[in-house]
Symmetry: C2
Subunit: 314 residues, 2 copies
Amino acid sequence: MTADPLRSDFLPSWNDGAAKQAIADFLAAARGVPVVDRVAVLDNDGTLWCEKPNYPQLEFLLGELARAVGADPSLAEREEYRALIEGDTAAQSELGLERIALALIELCAGISPEEFDASVRAFFATARHRDRGVSLSAIRYQPMLELLDELRRAEFDVFIVTGGGTEFVRAIGDEFYGVAPERVLGTQASYDFVRDGDGCAGLIRNADLVAADANEGATKVVNIQRALGRRPIFAAGNSPGDSEMLDYTMAADGPTLALLVDHDDADREYRYESVAATFETTGSFLDLAAAHGWTVASIRDDWATVYAADRPDQ
Amino acid sequence: MTADPLRSDFLPSWNDGAAKQAIADFLAAARGVPVVDRVAVLDNDGTLWCEKPNYPQLEFLLGELARAVGADPSLAEREEYRALIEGDTAAQSELGLERIALALIELCAGISPEEFDASVRAFFATARHRDRGVSLSAIRYQPMLELLDELRRAEFDVFIVTGGGTEFVRAIGDEFYGVAPERVLGTQASYDFVRDGDGCAGLIRNADLVAADANEGATKVVNIQRALGRRPIFAAGNSPGDSEMLDYTMAADGPTLALLVDHDDADREYRYESVAATFETTGSFLDLAAAHGWTVASIRDDWATVYAADRPDQ
């Protein structure tokens, strides 16, 4: 299908090229799709905001760990916490990210969802990006914010499907991305229903994950069905954990677009092709995307601007 | 707080009385609540539509059972199915509703979400209420549809939180209630991620439930947090399985309303106070609601009209 000539204000932070044209063509084709089927899902870390040198959520959890160790120094002896505190990367990789992540999540057990939300908001109020010194609103990718706007202009329902913690991303979902809490699907903490001494009903986080699975890979697809009940026709991601979600989207009826953000810009962002190479054991990154029908958004070539402006009050 | 005089078109199917006034007062007070916190959750069976003499979902599953037994008569020998087919109520109550429900859910394993959705829609296209002979759109409670409209007029986000199957209610959520699929939370089937021979990605229902729990009681509250990430300030229900959700809502900050539909109208609907009596071992139904601070909507006294009109095409 031939796209309309691009509006002059269409995705201004995207350079003209195959990716921008593919998005324009897809949005034009989606006009023929019933509105109820215009569902878009986007990964967060490395897709909507920068995930280097650390995931923002890891920075938050390291802060929680420092606070907890301050209150109870014996915690520093726990293997997972020791490896983090001492920056022992050998021990960290031996323990594995999942075990370390679960140990950190335990730090947030025993509090109410409201208390957790308040601690995340307090983190975002003062957190700065480790390398750039900006607030975390300024590590959002400006081209992706423009894409979110175009999707909504085309009457898409937009969901964030993240491997990060659901409640962590929900705390900033509306302010950073215009996405309501129920439209953020991530790795989920479990809760216990409790009553206080007066019989007042509430919830307390426990140390488990719902379904014991991080929201990555095939679990992202299962959770999309559980939470949305609709198959997306647009998906964006950047890592092996997004592969199934991109393919599930491509297999929908009618026009579809699966966008893969390629971190190939060492000057303006970070270059880490190596992560993408773990998708499969053979083939280059670009060959792989072509074989799956994914559209590659090269940060170096396709994005005229990388980051959103810092918030005026920061 | 004093409510505004009621608009002449305010909840026309509700008789003037304490329940209607409590709703008016609550909606007036909610004007002072930030829009993001205007969250309403409503049970479905017995709250938004009639659940007697059978849950509509049970009628659907009995149809699926008849079809399955037609294709494979040996299925009729399975204990749970035999009890249903023969109407053996003694065996049914010995087996228990949960075991029977799980056995019925197994009938829907092995198909895609799209196939399941199609079979539910086919059921609704021809199903008639067992006693009244009307389409299932006409067993919706007209007063509750008007209440949904008033909630939305007051900028509430409205969610259905049902013990029934999520996908079953999602199939008619928009048409019956104006509620989008992702705003329906119920008891959830699990899925397996699969690829067909061409590598095309999809999902297949399996026979498990997510978290192994029906969406009843405290599980409703946990699932509200998981799916919405916000605490409701309005809730409506009608059964012991709604008790925790009503109390959780009442414990929110600011104005709250928990509405309990009382099935006390044997002439126009069904009378089944006995179910409500299982909330607690002592005290009458109305004493109990008063003790918890719930507002009772008596079908007999508060509802001028019970049912919505049948759809013109039925």
